[in-house]
Amino acid sequence: MLVKPRMPKLFRSLLLAGAATLLAATGAAAQETVKLGLVAAMSGQSAKSGEAIVRGLSIAIDEINAKGGVLGKKVELLVRDDESNPAKGVVAARELVQREKVAALFGGLDTPVSIAIVPFVNGAKVPFMGVWAAGTPITRNGAAENYVFRVSAVDEIVDIALVDYAVKKYAVKKPGMILINNPWGESNEKGLKAALEAKKIPYAGVEKFETNDVDVVPQLTRLKQAGADVLFMVANVAPSAQVVKSLDRMGWDVPIVSHWGPAGGRFSELAGPSGAKVHFIQTYSFSGKLAPKGEAVLAALKKKYPEIKSLADVTPAVGIANAYDAMHLTALAIAKAGSAEGPKVREAFYGIDKYDGLIKSYAKPFTPSNHDALGPDDYIFTFFKEGEILPLTN
């Protein structure tokens, strides 16, 4: 009885609040800004990756806006959480495109989410810029009019680089694969097998495991018994850490050459000291001697985000660096198109000649047959030391 009279009041205030927000949104918008959307994991196990992407995009947007924005308007970023869930990612992408009318979308860390968004953006004719997810079919999606671009690693090329590294560093004879059981793992299984085939190297076996597997010993024992001398690992932070812990328990000291999954969070803490044995691929590192552009971006990051105190706080650098370069390239394309219309922007991506970026100097980064701005020469190998990602000198 006490509760009843209060309910309508609560509803009323909720309604009012909702209406006020709507009014504010429609009133302020009036297309004074060029809106860009980001769909990435802002919560859940990969939340740190979303944070890194937002930081990279924001630093670039600040620079762009300081120079007057694009098309004479300021750039505005709208962020949506996909919770690493493909269905939620598609809903968010739809909302950003249809309601917010974003000029372009940026994607997050999860390949399954990006793969789910690809058909929608190609249908809606809105450029979709991948800044992390490396799944090969994201950009090579077979669409007649492909709106998906990427400034990040590509599984197929990463897999070649992983095999090359294992040959050069460990003289691998018979590697084993320990892969996460999802489309990302699948994509790399294909890539790794092809890369090994090309080098005529046989493999000991392929084992899959789940994100929430506590114990990976049975899978690893199979690989050990099959005579694996190097492990190729493809999984995100927490499951990668479970592999390292299981190896510790087995007492099996085997080199691990990994995709960049461990970079997305507190790998050092989760995996323990043996985490340093994992050598994984990156596109960029803020450690060591930086080029002037790197110094400038790092300084801007520290200024904008006071919680960044050491280099351990700018891991994973890939998210920041890829997003930073991707935002500048997208702004260049929109400026070149002279319009925020999807088809024109897509054409303009092909027209970008040169951009002096953070990761490298891009020359003709995109062509109709290549939507990936980074290639095999742009990868570096790194490892974790006390929470910081350090480059390995080969």
Binding site: V217, Q219, R222, R249, R266, L270
Partner: protein, 290 residues
């Protein structure tokens, strides 16, 4: 070595499933209802333990005791708010209400505890010992012992003590039990508190082998329910043994056929087992007289 390590992995995981499944058993035998947020209660135990022991740096025994107490309080809330209002009306909506309660808790933890998985260090999970050529953390040996110990205690309490018989009387005929002077509401509430405390204990035990995060309990909750049904939910021993068997089958299938087949084979076995033995391995068709 393949078999040894599979057996040890399997028994360790299996006893975790068993512990959570015992929680399903306890509420079922007392009230004919179960708490589908058991997985979340497990997560709560691990998250609270981490917060007290690691973040706040309190002594471990205090952290464990307080975590279990709070997990029990969660069980009380589940019973009062999500089960009793429906069960007393004869409605089955508690089923969905407890699922929803678990999702609410998972998300509340996501926003308060944080998004990233954290590591829960333990002296029992640092240096592996070698058993028949397979490396094992001492904690992996402790877990089955705790599980079997608790199954034994539950068995003795339900079958040898007045309290246990009083609790079992509730499910047979709540009105008659009430007339006999048994506090039915208290009995049901206590069973839910025990149930979530057991799940919390499972969470605390698994955390050092795994990590602590807000959705760590989901898969465990599902597997534990399968285990509870397989074990014939009415028998504490049955549930614990079913947990161990489930864990063993899981690890052995992975070892011999490869991980790709694990879930397919294990859950097919679950379905098959239920077809052959509708009351589970150790269940009885009806509750026996007490």
């Amino acid at each position: 070595m393949l078999v040894t390590s599979a057996i040890i992995s399997g028994l360790g995981l299996g006893s975790m499933y068993g512990l959570i499944a015992l929680g399903f058993h306890v509420t079922y035998v007392v009230s004919n209802t179960v708490n589908f947020s058991q997985g979340s209660a497990m997560m709560l135990g691990a998250v609270l333990g981490y917060t007290f022991a690691v973040t706040l740096g309190w002594p471990l025994p205090l952290a464990v005791a307080l975590s279990l107490l709070l997990c029990a309080m969660f069980g009380l809330v589940v019973e009062r708010a999500l089960v009793r209002p429906f069960a007393e009306r004869g409605s089955n909506a508690w089923l969905m209400a407890t699922v929803a309660g678990g999702i609410v808790l998972d998300n509340a933890v996501l926003f308060t505890f944080g998004k990233e998985p954290r590591s829960f260090p333990s002296v029992l999970a640092q240096k592996p010992v070698e058993i028949f050529g397979a490396g094992v953390y001492p904690l992996q040996l402790v877990i089955p012992l705790v599980g079997l110990g608790i199954a034994l205690i539950l068995h003795l309490v339900f079958h040898r003590t007045r309290l246990g018989k009083a609790l079992l009387a509730v499910v047979q005929n709540a009105d008659a039990a009430r007339l006999m002077g048994i506090n039915v509401r208290l009995a049901v509430a206590v069973s839910f508190m025990i149930s979530t405390a057991l799940a919390g204990l499972a969470g605390l035990l698994i955390a050092p082998l795994f990590n602590v995060n807000s959705d760590m309990g989901t898969l465990f909750g599902i597997k534990a329910f399968a285990v509870a049904i397989l074990g014939g939910i009415t028998s504490a021993w049955g549930v614990m043994l079913a947990g161990l068997i489930y864990g063993l089958v899981e690890a052995l299938v992975t070892s011999f056929f490869g991980s790709v087949y694990t879930q397919i084979v294990v859950f097919s076995v679950v379905i098959l087992a239920l077809v052959v033995m509708p009351n589970g391995f150790f269940g009885r068709a009806a509750v026996n007289k007490v």
